[in-house]
C-alpha cells in the first residue's frame, strides 16, 4: 500500500482522514479511499461541505455511526477539539452491536469530560467467566435437528414426493434432442427456524447468567441461525463473541462486551429498543424467541407489555424461562407476569441449564399455551 508520505501534500490529508477512520474501527477499503479522492476532485472542491459529502458518499459510514463520523471529520479537517458525542440521554437505552471499540471510545471521552456526564442510574461492572462446565456436547449436536422447521422458498432436487421441475426437465429434453426421459422432480427445502435468546443480566439473575451464557454459546455453535442478546439497563448483541469456537475465549469476549452485569433492569425499554432496530426485529420474525429472565420489572410494566405483544406478533414461538418457576409454589401472580401470560407460548422453569436445554430441544413439539397450563395449576 502507498504510504501517506509519498503522496502529494494536498492528497495526503484525505488519505490521512481515511486512516484516522480506520483506526476508529470504520471498515474502509483502499478502493474507497481512491473513490474519495476522485470524488473530491470531481466536486471542485468548492467548500468543506463538498469534502464532507464526498466522504459520506464514498467512505459510507454506517448510519448508526454517522454522529461519530461527523465528530472525526470536524476534528480532522477543522481542527476542533474532540467534543464528547452528544445526543445520549440517560433514559435512552443504549444498544451495543458488533463494534465494541467504538463504545469504549465514547466512554473514555465521556469520562475525560468529568464525572457528571456518566450516568448515575447505571451501575456498570465487568465480570469474568473462567469455569468450564462442559457437557453441552449433546445439546449442541441435537440442536441443529431439534429446532422447529419451515418450508423455504428454495427448492431441492428429489426423486420422490415433489412437483415437476419444468426448467430442469425441459433442459434435459433439449439436451436429449427431444427425447423425453423420466421427468425430474423438485421439492421445497425444509430449513430450521431461527433461534433468538434474550438473556437478562441484571442483579436479580446473578446466579444464573454464567450458566445461561454457556448455554447460549452451545446454542450459537449448534444452531444454524441463532442470535444472542443480553439486556439489563442496556442491550448488547453478543452473538459475534459466541461464534468463537473455543469456549473460554468466547465467554471471555462476551463478558467483556457487556457493560451492565448485575445492575438494574429496565426490561421493557431495552426490549423496545431491540424492536426499534429494523435489523434485529426482522430477525425476530418467524423465530423461536426464548427470553431468560425473572420478569421482575420495577414500577410500570406497560412498556414491557407492549414489547412482549410485539414480540409475540412476530415470533413463531415466544417463551419465557424464569428461574423462579423452580419453586413448586411459584404462580404467575405478579402484575407484570399476569399481563404477559396471555402473550406467551411457554412459561417454563429456567433455574437449571439441564431443564432449559431440554426445553429448547423440545421447541419443535407442540405444547398447550402457557396460559392454559398455569390456569390448571392454580
Amino acid at each position: 500500500m502507498m504510504r501517506g508520505e509519498s503522496l502529494p501534500s494536498a492528497a495526503a490529508s484525505f488519505f490521512g482522514f481515511a486512516r484516522l477512520l480506520r483506526r476508529h474501527a470504520f471498515a474502509i477499503a483502499p478502493e474507497q479511499v481512491t473513490s474519495f479522492m476522485q470524488a473530491v476532485a470531481l466536486l471542485g472542491p468548492r467548500s468543506m461541505n463538498d469534502i464532507r459529502e464526498a466522504a459520506l458518499a464514498t467512505l459510507a459510514p454506517p448510519p448508526d455511526r454517522r454522529g461519530e463520523f461527523e465528530v472525526h471529520f470536524r476534528a480532522y479537517f477543522y481542527g476542533d477539539a474532540k467534543p464528547p458525542i452528544v445526543g445520549e440521554k440517560d433514559d435512552e437505552t443504549r444498544i451495543k452491536d458488533d463494534h465494541g471499540t467504538r463504545q469504549e471510545e465514547n466512554q473514555a471521552m465521556r469520562q475525560e469530560k468529568g464525572g457528571e456526564l456518566s450516568s448515575a442510574l447505571e451501575q456498570l461492572s465487568s465480570r469474568d467467566f473462567q469455569r468450564d462446565p462442559d457437557g453441552f456436547g449433546s445439546f449442541r449436536r441435537k440442536l441443529s435437528t431439534a429446532l422447529p422447521v419451515r418450508r423455504s422458498f428454495r427448492t431441492m432436487r428429489t426423486r420422490s414426493r415433489g412437483t415437476l421441475d419444468l426448467r430442469r426437465s425441459l433442459s434435459e429434453i433439449v439436451s436429449a434432442d427431444g427425447d423425453i426421459p423420466a421427468p425430474l422432480l423438485r421439492r421445497r427445502q425444509i430449513v430450521p427456524r431461527k433461534l433468538l435468546l434474550l438473556i437478562d443480566v441484571s442483579g436479580s439473575m446473578k446466579l444464573h447468567t454464567a450458566d445461561y451464557l454457556n448455554l447460549a454459546h452451545a446454542a450459537v455453535q449448534g444452531a444454524g441461525r441463532a442470535e444472542v442478546f443480553t439486556f439489563g439497563t442496556r442491550l448488547t448483541r453478543i452473538t459475534p463473541a459466541l461464534r468463537i469456537r473455543d469456549h473460554e475465549q468466547a465467554l471471555a469476549r462476551a463478558a467483556a462486551l457487556v457493560d451492565d452485569w448485575d445492575g438494574g433492569t429496565r426490561m421493557g425499554p431495552t426490549l423496545l429498543a431491540f424492536l426499534s432496530v429494523p435489523r434485529f426485529s426482522a430477525f425476530a420474525r418467524g423465530a423461536c424467541i426464548v427470553i431468560l429472565s425473572d420478569a421482575l420489572e420495577r414500577g410500570d410494566h406497560s412498556d414491557l407489555e407492549t414489547a412482549m405483544r410485539r414480540f409475540s406478533a412476530r415470533a413463531f414461538r415466544l417463551s419465557l424461562a424464569t428461574p423462579l418457576a423452580s419453586d413448586p409454589r411459584f404462580r404467575p401472580a405478579t402484575a407484570a407476569l399476569r399481563a404477559l401470560l396471555p402473550l406467551l407460548d411457554d412459561l417454563v422453569d429456567g433455574s437449571s441449564v439441564k431443564s432449559l436445554a431440554d426445553f429448547i430441544l423440545s421447541l419443535a413439539r407442540p405444547a398447550p399455551a402457557a396460559e392454559a397450563i398455569w390456569k390448571r395449576v392454580s
Binding site: 471498515a27 477499503a29 478502493e31 474507497q32 473513490s35 476522485q38 470524488a39 470531481l42 466536486l43 461541505n49 463538498d50 459529502e53 464526498a54 459520506l56 458518499a57 464514498t58 459510507a60 448510519p63 454517522r66 423455504s152 422458498f153 428454495r154 419444468l166 426448467r167 425441459l170 433442459s171 429434453i173 433439449v174 434432442d177 427431444g178 423496545l272 424492536l275 426499534s276 429494523p278 435489523r279 426482522a282 430477525f283 407492549t306 405483544r309 410485539r310
Partner: protein, 293 residues
Amino acid sequence: MTRADAIEVAASPEAVVTRLAASRYLADDSLATAIFLAIRLGKPLLLEGAPGVGKTEAAKAVAELLGRELVRLQCYEGIDAGHALYEWNYQRQLLAIRHAGEHEIDIYDDRFLIARPLLQVLRAPDQRVLLVDEIDRSDHEFEALLLEFLSDFQISIPERGTIRAATQPIVILTSNRTRELAEALRRRCVYHWIGYPDATREAEIIMLRAGDVAEATARAVAKAVQQIRARPLAKPPGIAEAVEWANAATILEKGGSPWPEAFRRAIGVLIKDEEDLSSIAPELGQIVEEAMG
C-alpha cells in the same frame, strides 16, 4: 443517452438538483451529490433508508433525468439467477426442435433467450437504468451474485459465452436496512442514507405530489407528521402516507368536515397499525392543533 450526454446532464450537483426538480423529485444537496458522484465515478448508487422516504422514487427520477428506461428488479427471499439474469425458453426450444425435423437448428439462438433485468441492462447500457429494489430482502447467495455482476458488468451464459456491457451501466440499489448488507457491496457503491425530510421540504414535496392541496394544509401536515414520527411507533409514516393524508383531509374538508376534524378522520391513511393508532389517538388533537396554529 450516451455516457457523454449523461456526464453533460450531471455537470454539477446543482444541475442534478434542478433536473430532478423538473422530474418532480425534490432532492437535498447531499442526495444530489451522491447521484452526481455515482454518475461521474461510474459506480452503483446504494440508497438506504426507512420505508417510505422515497428511495424507489429517487431511482425513477434519475432514470427520467437521464432520459433512460428504468429496469426494475424487485428482490425477495429466494430470488435466483433465473429471475435476475436470464432463462431459456424451453417450451419454444422444444417446439423448434420438433418443427425443424431433419434440419439443423441453433436452439441457443437469441429467440430462445429470455433476458431478465440484469441482462436487459447489460445489452443496452446507454438506454436503461437498473434498479435493484429492496436488496435486503434477498438472501446472501444472491448478494454474492450481484456483487460479481456489479464488479465486472458481465454475464456468462455457458451455451453462449460471456456478454459484456459496452459501457458502464448506471445501477441504483435500495435497501430498507432490515439486515446489514455485505461490506463488499457497500464498498463498491456510492452510498447515501436517505432520512426523513425536514418540515419545509416535506411541505414542498406534498405540494408537488398531492393533487390540489392548499399550501397551509401542506405545511400543517408536514409539521404534524414530523411530530408523529418523533413518537415511538411500530411503523412511522413515510412521505407517501403524508401526501395521502393531505389529500384525504382536503377531500373530507370539501365534503363538509371542518379543519381539525378532517385531519383526525383521515388519520387511517397516515397510520396503518392498530396499536400505533391507539397510542397516538389521545395526543392527535393537540398535535394537529399545534401544527395548524
